[in-house]
């Protein structure tokens, strides 16, 4: 900024084009502290010359529209999640200056865990926490920071310790953690305190510019509308009520002792993600596999049984092999309350089209490895679909007449191979043989990816072959 003049910072847009209504004034109420903190941040961004690097994360709350004003990179995020988004941005763009700007409802209520975890991880971000002791945007409900006795729309007779507990003191909490390097509470009251806010804003940004660590500045700020008073009264109310309960102090500052350090940059390239998820590269994806009969195409599968039967592994194997076979695939385990009863189930989709939702509510294929699973899911199977069930453990056949049924004594067959836990692969073999969805070699190729113990692979291959042979002998190819 030019010397000898205090005026609108260049890091604000000249004209707030994104805003509706007047394009030259903010949407904030008269006397609102947000505007002042915005000015101090914009001024610092100007002075440090970091406009091109800065990414400003706006919260949910009155400052939701900060991106109307700041001429920097902007992201507006879900309620309370600014520290999580800031983490992702900072780690993938370590050269950027990431500002998480949050109100007290956002940061201390719905986002309480997010901020603690980010602070504890020592994310190299700068957090500006506007504490106005109330939910401003939604019309003045109690916040975790609301004072004892303070009247809000949800504490019409005043907050009481008995009902709502004590005001949450975020600086005090965060400064007990080891990772944060700078934690200070300041207040937008008189010019003297405001100049301390200015200093804190600059320090917190400088810490990030110098690659030091997590900086947290809590700014006590007026909300005349929420407090139902004039702007001038609101300032006095802060001095009389907020400051005694939220003492101004530097709670932690080790920024001088900290050596600048860089986190290794996280690169989200397609190659990296493919490698992490074992996604076969294009050239390894088979394109020569004939389509199965219409009724078996694009299956939506529920696999269910006891925990320990390898249900989730069976689903994974199917999805992995399906991927190699050229399908879009999804696999999602379902952890319902029934987990406690020892049952497990997962949903698998193999599709020629991109998959919208990975959950399967109308399966075309049900694999039931125990009776409760058959009873639970039988009615959901699409007419014309397929039920595969383990006749070793289920001594009644499915009641449905409008579906295909394949019963296979998978557990006994597995026992004959010397390991009952291999029943899942017998079923996999039976499924591919019955439907012709993919040839054996695709599944065998995929085995090393989802089976960690390599010496078990031959047994798995044997099991798949047994399952296939059972179908060939008893049903012929469908």
């Amino acid at each position: 900024m030019a010397e000898k003049v205090l005026t609108k910072a260049a890091s604000f847009y000249d004209v707030y084009e994104r805003k509706s209504g007047a394009h030259d004034v903010t949407h904030y109420c008269p006397g609102c502290g947000h505007g002042v903190l915005h000015k101090l941040i914009a001024e610092a961004i100007d002075d440090f010359g970091i406009r091109d690097q800065t990414i400003f994360i706006s919260p949910v709350g009155c400052s939701v529209f900060a991106y109307y004003y700041f001429r920097v990179g902007n992201i507006q995020v879900a309620h309370g999640r600014a520290p999580a988004v800031a983490t992702g941005i900072k780690r993938t763009h370590p050269e950027s200056i990431v500002i998480s700007y949050q109100g007290d409802g956002d940061l201390a209520a719905i986002g309480g865990n997010n901020i603690l975890q980010a602070a504890n991880r020592g994310e190299k971000i700068t957090v500006f926490f506007i504490n106005n002791a109330i939910y401003g945007m939604t019309g003045g409900q109690m916040a975790p920071t609301t004072l004892i006795g303070q009247r809000t729309t949800t504490t019409p007779r005043g907050r009481t310790v008995a009902n709502e507990g004590f005001p949450l003191k975020m600086c005090e909490l965060i400064s007990t953690l080891e990772s944060p390097i700078y934690v200070e509470r300041v207040a937008l009251t008189d010019p003297k305190n405001t100049s301390k806010v200015r200093r804190a804003v600059r320090k917190a940004l400088r810490n990030q510019i110098e690659n030091k660590g997590f900086s947290f500045v809590e700014v006590l700020s007026a909300c005349p509308s929420g407090w139902k008073m004039t702007s001038v009264q609101a300032k006095q109310w802060m001095v009389d009520n907020l400051l005694p309960q939220f003492p101004l102090a530097v709670f932690k500052d080790v920024s001088k002792e900290i050596e600048p350090s860089e986190r290794s940059k996280v690169v989200f390239s397609t190659e990296n993600v493919n490698e992490l998820l074992n996604i076969p590269s294009e050239e390894n994806i088979r394109t020569d596999i004939p389509k199965p009969l219409t009724e078996h195409q694009n299956p939506r599968i529920i696999l269910a049984g006891f925990g320990g039967q390898g249900i989730l592994m069976l689903g994974l194997g199917l999805a992995q092999a399906g991927m190699q076979a050229g399908y879009h695939v999804s696999w999602i385990p379902s952890y319902g309350p029934e987990m406690r009863g020892g049952t497990a189930n997962c949903h698998v989709i193999l599709s020629e089209e991109r998959i919208g939702s990975p959950t399967v509510s109308r399966p075309t294929v049900l694999v039931a490895m125990n009776l409760p699973s058959l009873e639970k899911f039988e009615s959901q199977v699409e007419p014309g679909g397929l039920i595969i069930y383990d006749t070793s453990l289920i001594n009644q056949s499915p009641k449905r007449k409008d579906v295909n049924v394949l019963g296979i004594p998978a557990t006994e067959m597995a026992d004959n191979l010397g390991n009952t836990r291999i029943a899942n692969m017998i079923v996999l073999g039976a499924y591919i043989a019955y439907t012709g969805i993919m040839p054996k070699d695709v599944v065998v190729d995929a085995l090393p990816i989802f089976i960690k113990h390599k010496k078990l692979i031959p047994l798995n291959v044997q099991a798949i072959e047994k399952g296939m042979a059972f179908v060939d002998k008893n049903n012929g190819h469908a």
């Binding site: 010397e3 030259d24 004034v25 008269p30 101090l40 405001t194 004039t230």
Partner: protein, 84 residues
């Protein structure tokens, strides 16, 4: 208007259309040279005004004002463009 030589005296310029009439600048001014004007601006607020002299250029009003563009303070010796 721009001036070739530095300003002889500090001064404050208030853009009335951007003022929300919160009076925080008036409260903060140690020289007592700001006041609430009688008329209403386009938003229906009584905008703050400058009596025309006596500003020391301390900047208190600027840092109390929540509106980014409402107040500009020129310090003594300022050279350059001025806001309208």
């Amino acid at each position: 208007m721009s001036e070739a030589v530095g300003l002889e005296k500090a001064k404050v310029v208030i853009r009335e259309d951007e003022c929300k009439g919160c009076n925080l600048c008036i409260e903060a001014c140690p020289e007592d040279v700001l006041f609430e004007q009688k008329h209403l601006n386009r938003m229906g607020y009584h905008p703050a005004g400058y009596v025309g002299e006596g500003c020391s250029g301390c900047g208190y009003c600027f840092y109390q004002c929540p509106e980014p563009g409402a107040i500009t303070v020129y310090k003594k010796g300022y050279v350059g463009e001025e806001v309208a």
